[in-house]
Every structure is written in structure tokens, then in C-alpha cells.
């Protein structure tokens, strides 16, 4: 399973991680087992929303980011790549180390 599909599955299932958007458009991801908290800025929260809605390609994430925020394609691509790397480190790699 690709990285982005695995992240999408983890975020959508609400079993291992729960996610909440806060009133200032930031967000929180909570690891139910360890109670580790990952905070999201508004851009990160937007990308998590996209993943939870089933977006499964980086290209789609980049397109949605450009449509939502005033940002160029190169910057959006770099941001999406960096965000997915951080999310993977938190949700997948972090868990593997503690299991």
C-alpha cells in the first residue's frame, strides 16, 4: 500500500488515531494508545481533511492546496511532500518504534 493510501486509511478509520478540527482552523491528531498529540496548523488540517475524504495521490493534494490557498505549484508540491513526510514519521514510523 502506498504511503499516502496508508495515511488516508489511518486518518479515516478513527480507530488508532482520532482527529479534531479546532475553532481556529488548526487541528489535533490524537494517538489513542499512547495519547501522543500531533498539532496541525490550518494548512496541515486542510491536508488531513483531504486525506480523510479519500484523496490518495500527491498530485490531487497539490491541486487542492493551490485551489484553497494563494500558493504556487512548486511551493505547494514542496509543502505537500514535507507534510506527508512528517505525518508518516508521526503516524507510521513513530508507532513502529513504540510497538
Amino acid at each position: 500500500m502506498s504511503r499516502i493510501k496508508e495515511l488516508s486509511r489511518l486518518l479515516a478509520s478513527d480507530e488508532e488515531f482520532t482527529q479534531q478540527k479546532l475553532s481556529d482552523q488548526t487541528g489535533v491528531i490524537l494517538d489513542v494508545d499512547s495519547l501522543k498529540v500531533f498539532s496541525l496548523n490550518p494548512t496541515g488540517q486542510f491536508l488531513v481533511d483531504c486525506l480523510r475524504q479519500g484523496v490518495t495521490t500527491e498530485g490531487d493534494l497539490v491541486d487542492r492546496l493551490i485551489a484553497e490557498f494563494d500558493v504556487g505549484k512548486d511551493v505547494a508540491r514542496t509543502d505537500v511532500e514535507a507534510f506527508l513526510g512528517e505525518l508518516e514519521a508521526c503516524l507510521i514510523d513513530g508507532r513502529a518504534k513504540t510497538d
Binding site: L22, S23, V28, L30, V32, D33, S34, S39
Partner: protein, 151 residues
């Protein structure tokens, strides 16, 4: 959040008894540092609770967690207090443990909190509701009436 303030003095012998019942639960609640929250709730609830009055249970839980923190270096947080009070009440009420967050301040960007609902009503004198800045619940773990967590 760590609570340093003293609890009110014991007012009647029953308060001491409640405190003594809550103290081992405060020790059990320390498992939250190592075990998944639903498992801790399940372990807390074994045997069911004995206290029927939510307010008395909350006060006893606060006292027990405060003392356990001071005497044994354990956690005294809204989460441990909620675990103890929830275990005390679980035999008599529908009790659910909630964890939530709200945007923080400049110093603390994220503000987390734990509280109980008892028969659907929020029980939270530790951090009374600020209507302008409510916590958004992210996790709800029920205590089963028979003392087991519903996960």
C-alpha cells in the same frame, strides 16, 4: 495541567472513607502513562463504583490524586482525576470519559483537557466551561455499568 492547590479539609468521617477508597484508584490511574486509555478505563472500572454523588466522587478523586502525586510522585492531572471519579461512579451512572482540545495561548499553542459526563451531563469543576473557548472533544471512552470499558 498539574494541580498544586490544596483541597478543602475533610469535613466528615465519610469524606475520609471516600478518600481511602479513591487512593488505590489514583494509583491505578497512573497506568495511563504506559497503557492505552481504553485499557486503563477498563482496568479502573473493574468491580464497579460505590459512590453515587458525582460531586463527592469528584472531590474525593481530587484529594486522592493530589495526595498520591505528593506522596508517590504520581500524576495529578485532569485525566487521572477523571479516571478516579469515573471509576467511583461507574456502578451507578452512565459515565463517559472525554478528552478534548482547544486553541491555546501564545505560550501554549494547544490546550488539552479531560472531563467526565455523568448521565449525559458534563461534570467538570476542575476547568469550568468558558463558553467562548469550549474544548472540542476528540475521544470519548465510556465506563460500562458493570465495570468494564466499552472502548
Amino acid at each position: 495541567m498539574k494541580y498544586e492547590q490544596d483541597q478543602p479539609r475533610f469535613r466528615q468521617p465519610g469524606d475520609i472513607l471516600l478518600f481511602l477508597r479513591a487512593l488505590p484508584l489514583a494509583r491505578k490511574a497512573q497506568r495511563v502513562r504506559f497503557a492505552p486509555l481504553p485499557e486503563v478505563v477498563a482496568a479502573m472500572g473493574v468491580g464497579g463504583g460505590r459512590e453515587r454523588d458525582p460531586r463527592r466522587a469528584e472531590v474525593a478523586a481530587g484529594r486522592a490524586c493530589l495526595r498520591y502525586g505528593r506522596w508517590c510522585g504520581g500524576l495529578d492531572t485532569c485525566l487521572t482525576r477523571s479516571l478516579v471519579a469515573g471509576a467511583m461512579l461507574s456502578g451507578h451512572h452512565d459515565v463517559v470519559l472525554h478528552v478534548g482540545f482547544r486553541p491555546g495561548s501564545d505560550e501554549v499553542p494547544l490546550d488539552g483537557h479531560a472531563w467526565l459526563t455523568v448521565n449525559g451531563e458534563k461534570m467538570d469543576t476542575i476547568s469550568p466551561d468558558d463558553a467562548s473557548r469550549p474544548y472540542d472533544g476528540i475521544l470519548a471512552v465510556p465506563f460500562d455499568a458493570d465495570g468494564r470499558s466499552g472502548g
